[in-house]
Amino acid sequence: MRTDSMSNGMIEFRKELFADERDDTLNEIGKPTRRQDILGHVTGRSPFYDDHLFHGLLHMRCARSPHHAARIRRIDTTEAELSPGVVRVLTGRDVPLNLNTLLSLLDFGIDDEPVLSTDRVRYRGEPVAAVIAESEAAAREAAAKVRVEWEVLPHVLDVEEAIRPGAPVVLEIYPGNRFVYHGRYDHQKLRFGDVEAAFRTADHIIEGRYQISPIEQAPIETCGAIAAPETNDRYVCYTSTQALFFSLATTSKLLRLPSSRLHFIGGTVGGGFGGKVDSVHEPLAVLGAMLTGRPVKFMWDREEEMQVGGPRGAERWYIKDGVMRDGRIVARKFTGYFDSGAYTRLTSYAVIKAVGHLPGPYTIPNVHADVYCVFTNRTPATAMRGFGITGVDFAIEAHMDKVAEAVGMNPIDLRILNAYRDGDMKAHRRVAKNCALIECCQVVAEKAGVQLTSASRAASSRQGGGGERGRIPAHTALDQVGRVEGFDTGSYARKPARQAQATAARPAAAAPAPAPPQPRVPRLEPSRAASAAPPIPPAPAQPAQTGGPARSGPIRFSSISGFRRR
């Protein structure tokens, strides 16, 4: 039999904790299982995107900016086009819609990033032309022959320098080098109680500054895509993407092709960690296949992966705590800066996630946060394993240690004292439930041989919460700092022109309404069959799908769960 790491002591279940909240009729958890794709992995037969052979495969390689910021006076592809083995050289003029922001698919943000820039570059390595050639070597040689006349512009590489008055503007649509949320504020705010009043009554004021550098995901398989014309007027695209439908819809948008003409195949990803969601390769590979009629591979080499692959962005955090002598944190103020790099991509969303996470898993009655998505002339940042949370968690926990030192407490005791208890009100006005930080701290202390106070040992997530701690403060100090006037949100849903165009472009949508789906009868589990099943109401008649009335507004991320439910 296979060995079981869980019984080897690598994982230990503490089933006595919250035993009454759980029924232990679990079939999978706690038992080893074999992943379904592992036979493919150990035989080398798992089909990664580059494991598809095409006759006549062409190779694409980009010519890139050597400057952090520059105006493009002229792009001359003549010499590159004459280079041996070159089939075609693409510039931004070949891209049907040469401007995008990833979250436009969710009606969030303004299109800001070209596929191939025609007028300006905003980070080192930004692509300005894509050479398609018979071999990788020929494409590489020709890409070096794309001549660009640059007018070098001043650049800015630090978040706080970028928001100073007079700093070079990275993106013209965001003149303050800050993403604008919902057309109203140049940052995300969290206001709960009154931190300034609480600071005046606190015994200690403890401040800290924390930062992380960008981190490249560095998957062993570099990002890429292969696209080829099919015989049915569609294009097949094998891709390394972690977000297949994101890549499909982005390609559909940028190439102005209905998604029904795109046949995307993915799902076997050679390591992603967030770095394969940007949908950079698929649009260019498909465009190459469209314009040459041949299969085209666009694959980053390792150097490109490291230089232009979107990393986890840099972050800088300032934290100021008001703390009582006994260790209670009564106020916490954050100022945070996320380095989005030269374009938005997903950093606007990372900031929302971060703010939803504040002030960490601690009940603090006064919280204030201003968190900025800042543009700089660095490689655009993107997703990576818990992005939005990881950096600020590092800052919060480093700061907790600093607070513990200042008040002379054991850091674990300090955490238990301030931890969320069930029923506590969080700073974003949701009630904490199913808390378990205290129990985790107690187990950690035991394992590490740390002697906790008797109060810490006796503490429980289920005791001491709620009541006064469960109330929203009677007074919350508000302000208009960072208010932006007259800013167009750029929402798709609000653009009448696009509405009309979308309706016109999709006549099939107004065709006969599909039959309403049959209500699904839930399968009753034996254990639940005894209780009377509620009557299943008939499904409401489905309205016919038409161009429809305009939606009332853009979908917004809620501060907590990502999307506002509709």
Partner: protein, 157 residues
């Protein structure tokens, strides 16, 4: 461009192909001979994903000129299993020694070469043998355990 013929034994079969000047073994195997099991990770000998055996010794296929394997015996993961998986493959499955699977063929080749020259390696020997292979999903510990289990005859899954 002058193409050059090469003839080699690939996983026990006699194969021949034309190589272009400067073509590396990885490209010959993948594009020329259709063996897609060695992977491209860096093209600079840094990651080990393209590790294959040439006359039994592990080599980085991205750094070997294709014409250099003329008359040689090349082995890849494609030739590892017969009707049933190789004990190393069984061990990698049993020990969860693959996550995304992209680096796995390289690790298997490095492990196979190790066990061929040293059937009873120590843990240090295993670590040394896979030191040229990178796994970004952080799987080194299960990989080491998997290789050791084969060496110590406890690999039956």
């Amino acid at each position: 461009m002058v193409m050059k013929p090469v003839a080699l034994t690939l996983n026990g079969s006699f194969r021949a192909a034309f190589t272009a000047p400067g073509q590396n073994l990885l490209d010959l195997l993948r594009r020329g001979l259709g063996d897609l099991t060695p992977k491209y990770g860096c093209g600079q000998g840094g990651c080990g994903a393209c590790t294959v055996l040439v006359d039994g010794e592990p080599h980085l296929a991205c750094l070997v000129l294709a014409e250099a394997v003329d008359g040689r015996n090349v082995e890849t993961v494609a030739g590892m299993s017969g009707a049933t998986p190789h004990p190393l493959q069984e061990a990698f499955m049993a020990h969860f020694a693959a996550q995304c699977g992209y680096c796995t063929p390289g690790f298997l080749m490095a492990a196979k070469a190790l066990l061929a020259r040293n059937p009873r390696p120590t843990r240090e020997d295993v670590v040394e043998a896979i030191s040229g292979n990178l796994c970004r999903c952080t799987g080194y510990e299960p990989i080491i355990e998997a290789i050791l289990s084969v060496a110590h005859g406890s690999a039956r899954a």
